[in-house]
């Protein structure tokens, strides 16, 4: 055993694997992505009782080594030592949910057969007890040939025993073999292995299992097979198909037959499932109409938190940045550098960090729903609705989160295991009207509707804008699903885990990791863009005392003039053009930019002076610039256009592709342009 051995933690989703990993490592963990895929790589450290250092890797949850998702492919490749960025683990800890023993043994038995020294952590023994399942642990250890430690990761019970087993000098190699491969399959695999060995596609001295699990992945690119080996893999599949057309299914059946035999020896359970707490809760939470009502209540509560409770901390952040800005203003001599720091850097970063409270609340909420097991119920209830546009229930929450901010929404799509569904959700989620659009909506609605109009009429316009974005998202989801995106839809298969008490520590850790990712990625990009936009609206400098004239002569002002021919058909003048350009950093910047353009002192809290100025602004012919038609055209533009650098940065990261990021920018902004054009031109033709 090497100096600091690497132990892999492996298990089904919902088996308590990550809770155990957090318990073992505490905060001593690093989170990154596996290069080339958006699968989280978590590495941590812990010490054994004897002060020996152990390195731990929390591998993605999986149901089988026959990979069906990028997560499962990573698990397979790490365990087989096929990833260059991750060494093959020295030992394996398989976390097995005792209350779901048979199904969990499916993956466990596959991993055992790989022959690495293994410890089994038999988790959730309390839940199994509650179900009156009797598990003969010594017998199970004897049959599998590896140590089995009972534990409860949620309370930490059994942790010491597990650590002791993990750090044992000698760990036996597993004895378990479910069933010999049928002779025809074995013969075919021998031939395929020989061929793969020739080109170095598999390890030397590899067992038959490596080619077997590579061939059972239906996505050869995901299997990390280089192009030169693709033909071999295809031929291998054909050879196996020819030998036994139902080979995959037969291997599953054989394995379960062996597991059933094992369970007859080690597991004694009641004939009928007892009405557990989970069943009783689900009776109400998934009740035909109470279930829907619960979802609604939870969503209303979530939105209350995001839009009302988050207001306080958002105000503090704003005040803190404003104080920092005025402190710098006072401490530094006037000049370009001071302006750069105050107007460029501090203002720009403040514009991003201000969304942090909403993002934290959202991730905390998502964490609780995931950890308790309610998330699966939400997907179960919403699946039928989402299926109308070709998505599944798991896409619901990421999409919903995007009404607060598309950044956490896009990040939350990691729970969607079908790559196609996940990509479509990422592409349409920013069409949900996020909170950054709200100030723009408020300003423009108040600009074109006279004070005499009732608040209800204004509110209904607002609701209409939200509905428009939602319909747009559904339409594009449907279109992408039907037309653009190739590949079959993966079937919706959802496990409904047992409810459990959420672990605050795990949730806070998740919130912290997500917030850090947001600040690091979006923060750096926004920081750069803010400085660029500041520079564009400052240089070249003119000596006019009037800020609006200085802006007009700047690069941004010239750019506004430059794009005027493009946006004039939508009814916009060059001043609105400057606002649009500024909005590409973040939409709410529109309000600030317009107040500079019109040289109006405007605050986000009180838009009255700016609104009055917009109402009074006229064209050369004396007609108002902000006619109802222009305002509606502009509102529709803001509903659809992709004007958020933070989201683009996150989309790039989560799709791992510049292409999809640009595609999203162009289809969203293109749609915005075409619709705004249509509204203004048809409206003008009709005489509005």
């Amino acid at each position: 055993m090497s100096e600091t051995p690497l132990l892999a933690i492996v298990g089904n989703p919902n088996c308590g694997k990550t809770t155990l990993f957090n318990l073992l490592t505490g905060l001593r963990q690093k989170v990154a992505n596996y290069p080339g895929v958006t699968v989280e790589k978590k590495i941590g450290e812990c010490w054994s009782q004897h002060g020996k250092k152990l390195r731990l890797i929390d591998l993605p949850g999986a149901y089988s080594l026959n990979a069906r998702s990028p997560d499962e492919a990573v698990l397979r490749d790490v365990l087989l030592g096929r990833r260059e960025d991750t060494p093959r683990p020295d030992r394996v800890v398989i976390v097995v949910d005792a209350a779901n023993l048979e199904r969990n043994l499916y993956l466990a038995s596959q991993v055992l057969e790989l022959g690495l020294p293994t410890v089994i952590a038999l988790n959730m023994v309390d839940v199994a007890e509650e179900k009156q399942w009797l598990i003969n642990v010594p017998k199970l250890a004897e049959e599998l040939g590896v140590p089995v430690v009972t534990m409860q990761a949620t309370t930490g019970k059994g942790l010491l025993e597990l650590k002791a087993a993990m750090s044992r000098e000698e760990l036996p190699k597993p004895r378990w073999h479910s069933a010999p491969l049928p002779e025809v399959i074995r013969a075919a695999l021998h031939g395929i292995r020989a061929e793969l060995l020739l080109s170095g596609a598999v390890h030397e001295n590899t067992s038959l299992l490596e080619p077997l699990y590579l061939l059972s992945d239906h996505d050869p690119l995901r299997a990390g097979i280089q192009d030169v080996h693709l033909g071999q893999i295809q031929r291998g599949r054909h050879a196996l198909e020819a030998a036994n057309s139902g080979w995959e299914d037969q291997l599953v059946n054989d394995r379960y037959t062996a597991i059933e035999k094992l369970c007859q020896k080690v597991l004694n359970r009641p004939d009928q499932e007892l009405p557990s707490l989970t069943q009783k809760l689900d009776h109400w939470l998934l009740h035909p109409w109470l279930g829907g009502l619960t979802v609604l209540a939870i969503l209303v509560f979530l939105f209350y938190l995001i839009f009302k409770v988050a207001e306080g901390p958002m105000g503090w952040i704003e005040a803190a940045f404003a104080a920092l800005g005025s402190w710098v203003t006072g401490a530094m001599p006037p000049g370009d550098l001071r302006d750069l720091i105050v107007d460029g850097a501090i203002n720009g970063v403040s514009g991003v960090v201000i969304f942090l409270p909403q993002i934290l609340i959202l991730f905390f909420f998502i964490g609780i729903m995931e950890d308790t097991g309610y998330m699966a119920r939400l997907a179960f209830i919403m699946d039928r609705l989402m299926s109308i546009v070709g998505l599944n229930g798991k896409a619901f929450l990421p999409f919903l989160s995007s009404y607060a901010c598309a950044v956490p929404g896009v990040m939350a799509t990691r729970t969607i295991d079908s790559p196609k569904d996940r990509l479509i959700t990422i592409l349409v989620a920013p069409l949900a009207s996020c909170s950054a659009r709200l100030p723009v909506y408020l300003l423009l609605i108040s600009a074109f509707m006279p004070n005499s109009v009732s608040i209800w009429a204004k509110a209904s316009i607002m609701v209409g804008l939200y509905a428009l974005g939602t319909l747009g998202a559904f339409f594009f989801a449907w279109l992408l699903n039907k037309g653009v995106m190739r590949g079959a839809n993966a079937p919706m298969i959802l496990e409904m885990p047992t409810y459990k008490m959420p672990s605050l520590k795990s949730i806070l850790l998740l919130v912290w990791q997500r917030a850090k990712a947001f600040l690091a990625r979006a923060g750096t990009v926004i920081f750069g863009i803010s400085i660029l936009i500041w520079a564009a609206s400052t240089y070249p400098k003119t000596d006019s005392p009037d800020a609006s004239i200085r802006l007009e002569k700047s690069i941004a002002g010239r750019a506004g003039h430059l794009i005027e021919p493009v946006i004039a058909p939508l009814g916009y003048d060059w001043k609105i053009g400057i606002g649009l350009i500024g909005s590409f950093a973040a939409r709410e910047v529109f309000v600030n930019t317009m107040s500079v353009v019109y040289a109006v002192e405007a605050e986000e809290e009180d838009m009255t002076p700016l609104r009055d100025h917009l109402r009074a602004e006229t064209r050369a012919d004396g007609k108002p610039v902000y006619s109802p038609l222009v305002c509606i055209s502009l509102l529709v533009f803001y509903v659809f256009a992709m004007q958020c650098v933070s989201t683009m940065a996150i989309v790039k990261r989560e799709t791992n592709s510049w292409g999809w990021m640009w595609f999203q920018l162009f289809f969203m902004t293109g749609t915005a342009y075409v619709l705004a054009l249509g509204i203004y031109q048809i409206g003008t033709a009709l005489g509005y």
């Binding site: 779901n100 379960y256 009776h283 179960f380 039928r384 919706m492 496990e495």
Partner: protein
């Protein structure tokens, strides 16, 4: 002879044994790996509020799927099983 009864038709609260699954289809292979192999006993727990998906239990775990998959899974020996959900309903 009757047409083969499918999992999609199993009444709520009833149990049956899986008789057949078509081979060689990706989604159905995954369902097999989750425990729905021929001979396994399944119980229909409920349908979602909007009619789909269905929730079943097999080998002690609870799985949801759409009719699209369930209608390919042949079942036999349907039995009216004890239903914990019904007993709580009568109490309520």
């Amino acid at each position: 002879m009757h047409a083969q009864l499918t999992l999609a038709q199993l009444p709520i609260g009833s149990a049956a044994f899986i008789h057949s699954l078509p081979t060689g289809r990706v989604g159905l292979t995954r369902l097999r790996e989750l425990g729905l192999t021929p001979g396994a006993r399944v119980t229909m727990v409920r349908r979602a509020p909007l009619g789909e998906p269905i929730e079943i239990t097999v080998r002690g775990s609870h799985i949801a799927m759409r009719d699209h998959e369930a209608q390919h899974i042949g079942i036999t020996h349907v039995e009216q099983a004890f239903n914990p959900a019904q007993s709580t309903t009568t109490q309520a």
